[in-house]
């Protein structure tokens, strides 16, 4: 009886000791990368969430061209070289030879290019990428290694954002035809540096190194993408060694990036975050009032309060180095003084700021609540009541589309091509994603013209004019492009795109 007791005690002690020593030492040949949410699909033609789907796809597939690592410069990938006809509507690609698809799905040929692009523009495809190929008429196979894209009109964004991004990734024709679209979405077959292995219960995605890769192969034998939507979880997991690469929250950035075991960097994001005024509804259909609001709402405070002062102010819908960048004038309260704004309010018909209440619709997440509370406090200094509704995505989009709000805060993802960013404010987007509920014929025409030309001077000219139109009407306030804050253990040396997305196959070990 007594003896038994001691044996139990012994076993329990050993178990406890065994459990408390952290066995979570990372395997040497395996990399764990956190993604901010569950990947939705691995079929490049149906990409839904850029932040979680794209890094995975990018490791499995290649395009005809790609961005040179670390830049947005376009260089050959599966294509050896290409020729563009004089009227800019026919592009002929010479393909590299002898490249094999994963898992014995055969050699990559011109047929796969034709299939990959035409499945996107096919009528029954329902691909969200159809607009990326908006002017593509058809793809012609010249021979096994030569393929020609035939356009109805020149396409400004073809080389800047369509081909090097997900729409341009080449899938195995044989694999898609054999499996069908649905199955392919979770069993992707490409030519890339990593081969898809498993998508498990916890929504982790495991990739294995492609040992027959046509370029220099990756160093690490295995990558696991782990979804972690909560940034705090990512920070904790990074410190406990469960992941090798993750994102830091801005407030903790300084402290954690100073720890010896980690390195971290801040990258500008490609998105645009802005305060939008509903210009079609009383009281903000009043331009004077919108101007007053531009003085009252202070984006600098938002940057400090919600972005820990780590994000840069955006003065344009575009990033500074993009074609057509135009800096909108900053409406600063301290430049004009409070009296000027009181006068503006009086001119708008609201002396003393009183007599109206504004509806503010925003997301329910913490960062957006903070921004709402801040704007509310700023407006209250001018006696304006702001009624905040922090909604879930569904109801929020409902409100956006039926226009039952006065002010809202939004983040729209962009691509490298400027035209993409402008399209949401077109008249045809009223009731959809035009959050200003603003319609301007001149804006629409300028956009259309820029879309169908390869003349970058003309495009730049038009984009500038469009930004001036938006500025003249004071339809909103650009706040920031946001930042990405990847952090990684010092055991590895990762490579990132200019907007801070990791390129997994280029990660090397830091040890000599």
């Amino acid at each position: 009886m007594l003896k038994n007791k001691y044996i139990y005690l012994f076993i329990i002690t050993v178990l406890c000791l065994g459990l408390l020593t952290n066995p979570a030492a990372a395997q040497d040949d395996s990399l764990n990368i956190a993604i901010p949410g569950r990947a939705q699909t691995l079929d490049p033609a149906y990409l839904q969430r850029v932040l979680s789907d794209w890094p995975v796809m990018n490791s499995i597939f290649n395009g005809l061209v790609k961005y040179k690592p670390g830049t947005f410069e376009v260089v050959p990938d599966l294509a050896k070289e290409w020729e563009i006809s004089e009227d800019n509507t026919e592009i002929t690609f010479q393909l590299k030879e002898g490249i094999e698809f994963h898992k014995d799905y055969g050699e990559f040929t011109a047929e796969d290019v034709k299939f990959s692009f035409e499945r996107i523009i096919a009528e029954d495809a329902n691909s969200p990428e159809a607009q990326s190929f908006i002017n593509l008429e058809r793809v012609e196979v010249i021979n096994q290694y030569t393929v020609k894209l035939i356009l109805t009109q020149p396409m400004g964004r073809l080389f800047t954002s369509t081909l090097p991004f997900n729409a341009g990734l080449i899938v195995s024709k044989k694999a898609v035809e054999e499996m069908g679209r649905e199955k392919f979405a979770s069993n992707p077959i490409g030519t890339g540096p990593y081969v898809f292995e498993e998508w498990d219960v916890n929504n982790n995605i495991t990739l294995k190194r492609n040992d027959d890769y046509f370029e220099v192969g990756a160093e690490y034998g295995e990558i696991v993408f782990m979804p972690m939507s909560d940034p705090t979880s990512q920070e904790l997991a990074l410190q406990s060694g469960e992941i090798d690469i993750g994102q830091l929250t801005l407030d903790n950035f300084d402290q954690i990036s100073q720890m010896e075991k980690f390195e971290a960097e801040i990258y500008p994001d490609l998105a645009i975050q802005y305060v939008a005024f509903n210009t079609s509804k009383k009281p903000l259909n009043n331009k004077k009032l919108r101007e007053a609001l531009r003085y009252i709402i202070n984006p600098e405070e938002i940057l400090i309060g919600a972005f820990a002062g780590k994000a840069e102010r955006a003065n344009s819908i575009l990033l500074e180095d993009m074609t057509g960048y135009w800096q909108a004038p900053d409406f600063k309260l301290e430049d004009v003084g409070e009296d000027y704004v009181w006068n503006l309010l009086a001119e708008a018909g609201y002396p003393e700021g009183e007599g109206f209440e504004l509806e503010y619709v925003t997301d329910a997440n913490e960062e957006r609540r903070l921004i709402g509370a801040l704007i509310q406090d700023q407006l209250s200094r001018f006696n304006i009541d702001l009624n905040i509704e922090a909604l879930e995505v569904g109801p929020k989009i409902d409100r956006w589309q039926d226009g039952s709000y006065d002010i809202t805060y939004a983040r729209f993802t962009n691509t490298v091509d400027p035209g993409y960013n402008f399209q949401w404010n077109l008249s045809e987007q009223l009731g959809k994603w035009n959050l200003f509920h603003w319609s301007n014929k001149e804006y629409d025409n300028l956009w259309q013209e820029a879309e169908t030309t390869l003349d970058s001077n003309l495009r730049a000219e038009n984009y500038k004019k469009m930004q001036q139109l938006m500025n003249d009407d004071s339809i909103g306030i650009w706040v920031t492009h946001g930042v990405k804050t990847p952090a990684w253990t010092t055991e590895i040396t990762p490579v990132f795109s200019p907007d801070g997305v990791v390129l997994p196959w280029l990660i090397t070990s830091s040890e000599e």
């Binding site: 407030d251 903790n252 400090i304 309060g305 913490e366 609540r369 903070l370 509704e389 879930e392």
Partner: protein, 291 residues
């Protein structure tokens, strides 16, 4: 004659209850916590040292100081003041929720017990359907249908808990109906409403009081939990749950920040449940085990 006797009974009983509770340290603890919460909620503007909505981004995330006793949050707002103001939604949610569920529960329970027949089956069936869902999941789904706001949180919490009261009221009413004095009252020509108010309600009062003490603790817990999942109240209204969620990302850099709302939630729950326990011991109602 009947009335005075009844009144005498009630008076005697409450005197006994107070006597027992006076000797119970749990009653003092619970009572003072509840008082503290109520005072904070009612007199928040007088007690709070600063405006809880006033932002000041130049002094964000500061530690405790003389000016801000518990420090400031990420917008530079005074944490102590926000904590005090957040007693308001806590009180509204717990008292509001319980009032809704007790009222609906009593009405449905009495209806079921008195009318009987098909109506009773329907009411019991409604109770069973509500009870078929784990409460937090039912609340979660309902909230995402209606949309989060103070009112919807109160109503949903109330409706989710309501069947418990309905069942208790029905069971007690059924057994009270058999009691002699009700029969006697009926035979003297008292109408139903009179019987309900004079005889049945006072008798189920004890059970309902104890149950609601426990449930108010759960409501505080659920409200904070919902806010923690991002389904809470609308800003600038801040509840302890919202503050908990806001501080979560600072658990490494400013771990003290999350402690305050956590303590507030736990203390409130502790207050309600110890008071309810002390009441239970003193009243000793015939609660069946199924709570």
């Amino acid at each position: 004659m009947f009335k005075s006797q009844k009144f005498f009974r009630f008076q005697k009983k409450s005197a006994r209850v107070i006597k027992i509770m006076k000797k119970d340290y749990k009653a003092y603890l619970g009572g003072s916590v509840i008082m503290l919460i109520l005072i904070s909620a009612i007199f928040a503007p007088l007690i709070a040292p600063a405006d809880p909505y006033k932002t000041n981004v130049t002094k964000r995330l500061e530690g405790p100081s003389l000016q801000n006793l518990l420090g400031t949050d990420s917008l530079g707002r005074d944490i102590l003041s926000r904590l005090i103001y957040a007693a308001r939604p806590a009180v509204l949610v717990s008292f509001g929720g319980i009032i809704i569920s007790v009222i609906i529960g009593i009405i449905l329970g009495l209806l079921a017990a008195y009318v009987g027949g098909i109506l009773e089956s329907i009411i019991l069936f409604i109770f069973d359907v509500i009870r078929a869902f784990p409460p937090i999941i039912l609340i979660l789904v309902l909230l995402s249908i209606i949309g989060p706001s103070l009112l919807s949180v109160i109503v949903i919490l109330g409706v989710t808990i309501m069947p418990r009261y309905g069942r208790v009221v029905r069971a007690e009413t059924l057994s009270e109906k058999e009691e002699d004095f009700v029969e006697a009252a009926r035979s003297l020509g008292a109408d139903n409403s009179r019987i309900i108010f004079k005889h049945i309600l006072p008798n189920i009062f004890a059970s309902v009081l104890v149950l609601s003490g426990m449930d108010m603790a759960s409501m505080i817990m659920w409200e904070a939990g919902l806010s923690f999942l991002g389904l809470g109240l609308q800003p600038p209204l801040s509840s302890w749950g919202v503050m908990l969620q806001e501080s979560y990302q600072y658990i490494q850099t400013a771990p003290l920040m999350i402690l305050w709302p956590a303590l507030a939630i736990m203390l409130t729950m502790l207050g309600f449940s110890t008071f309810a326990e002390s009441l239970r011991v003193a009243l000793n109602p015939k609660l069946n085990q199924e709570v």
